[in-house]
Amino acid sequence: MAADWRRAHLVERLPQTATARSLAFTVPGWPGHLAGQHVDVRLTGDDGYQAARSYSLAAPAEGERIELGVQAVADGEVSPYLADGLPVGADVEVRGPLGFWFVWRPEQTGPVLLVGGGSGVVPLTAMIRAHREAKSPSDFQLVYSVRTPEDFWYGDLLSEGADHLDVDVLYTRRAAPGSSRAPGRISADDLRGHVSRLAGAGTVFVCGPTAFVEAVSDHLVDLGRDSGSIRTERFG
């Protein structure tokens, strides 16, 4: 018998970029979750046809309220509907929380390096919010790779320079004005300083499209990071 699906009621939709949205749902009976976990979202057509995909939780739970971040993928079956089709006030079904490895717990005191590409920033943002809520003393660094300044998610949260959070934004196509780094894919050099700040301790969380996660985790291993301390989540 498959575990239960819960009714999730869309209460708010906010744009993050031209094609990405934050969605807030209320889920009666939501049991709570850890930062980094995801849910499966299930849609049902009029004829009973169903489609499900995974989406990371973007924030710690606030009671029955959960937040997702969805990038509309061109020709996608589910993401364009979630991003723009589902009316506020309507329901979908969710199952979760899921994912038991790619999680950060406030009890963890070691330093943390988060490396996100595009929508891969979603579960990392949940960790950043959980870290801030817990007033955790652990040193947090975020390396965030986006195409252009317009593709930046969670602008108010990730550029504000919170205590214990260093944000390093890497542009792959077009950099922000005044940025000293030429646009380009993330390299080992981009990560070197962040890795040495960990001084061999702590955990690295890497999330994004498969090619991004592969490239970053290879760089981390080349820079001497122990494989066992690198946790990855691949979105595609």
Binding site: A3, R7, R53, T210, R231
Partner: protein, 199 residues
């Protein structure tokens, strides 16, 4: 009906008999891994079968490649909900590695380079139900998909098809592997939708 996701239409129907519940078909080949992709050169690659008594038998890459090879085509189903139809593999049936092995074990743990483990009942690896594969669609299996060689157990969710496999440890007791210890289902039958501990 109609109480969820108003206005959602979705894609073409009609794969119902090929698609396990809750899955969607994909043409691409997504990747699920817990950490970095290990690089395992074939020069130093070995594959070992260890029994419950600690007896072991090993194969180098060349020895494995000298065993009778099979071409085999399967639908594969990942717990992250994608299914991919008619995937073509080449490799050695697990039966070939167990032929001369004396064991009373009912279970096996597949151990990978990089430390990943996954557990299966031994019978799920026998009688042509599982392979050690090294070629996908005519090309050497790429590292992110488990190359140089991975287990292929297509009738279970794909995390049971351990990537970068290096050992089969035969055990008398069932020993949960990596994902099975952190919340995934112990057996993982996609047709019974055995995704997590709750299923």
């Amino acid at each position: 009906m109609g109480t969820f996701s108003p206005g959602f239409h979705g894609r073409a129907r009609g794969l119902a008999d090929k698609l396990p519940p809750g899955q969607y078909p994909t043409e691409s080949f997504p990747v699920l891994s817990a950490g970095p992709t290990p690089r395992v050169p074939t020069e130093t690659w070995t594959f070992t079968v260890t029994t419950e008594n600690g007896d072991s038998r090993g194969w180098t890459w060349d020895e494995m490649m000298a065993l009778p090879q099979e071409d085999t085509v399967h639908d594969i189903h990942c717990v992250t909900r994608w299914s991919k139809f008619d995937t073509p593999w080449r490799g050695v049936p697990v039966d070939a590695f167990l032929e001369d092995v004396e064991t009373a074990a009912d279970y096996a743990v597949a151990v990978s380079h990089g430390g990943y483990t996954t557990n299966l009942p031994l019978e799920d690896l026998l009688d042509g139900k599982a392979w050690v594969v090294h070629t996908y669609d005519g090309f050497p299996l790429s590292p992110e998909h488990g190359g140089p060689a991975r287990l292929l157990v297509p009738h279970l969710y794909f995390w049971k098809s351990a990537k970068w496999v290096r050992e089969l440890r035969l055990t008398l007791e069932d020993e949960p592997g990596f994902w099975e210890s952190v919340g995934y289902h112990n057996y993982g039958d996609p047709w019974r939708e055995q995704r997590t501990w709750d299923d």
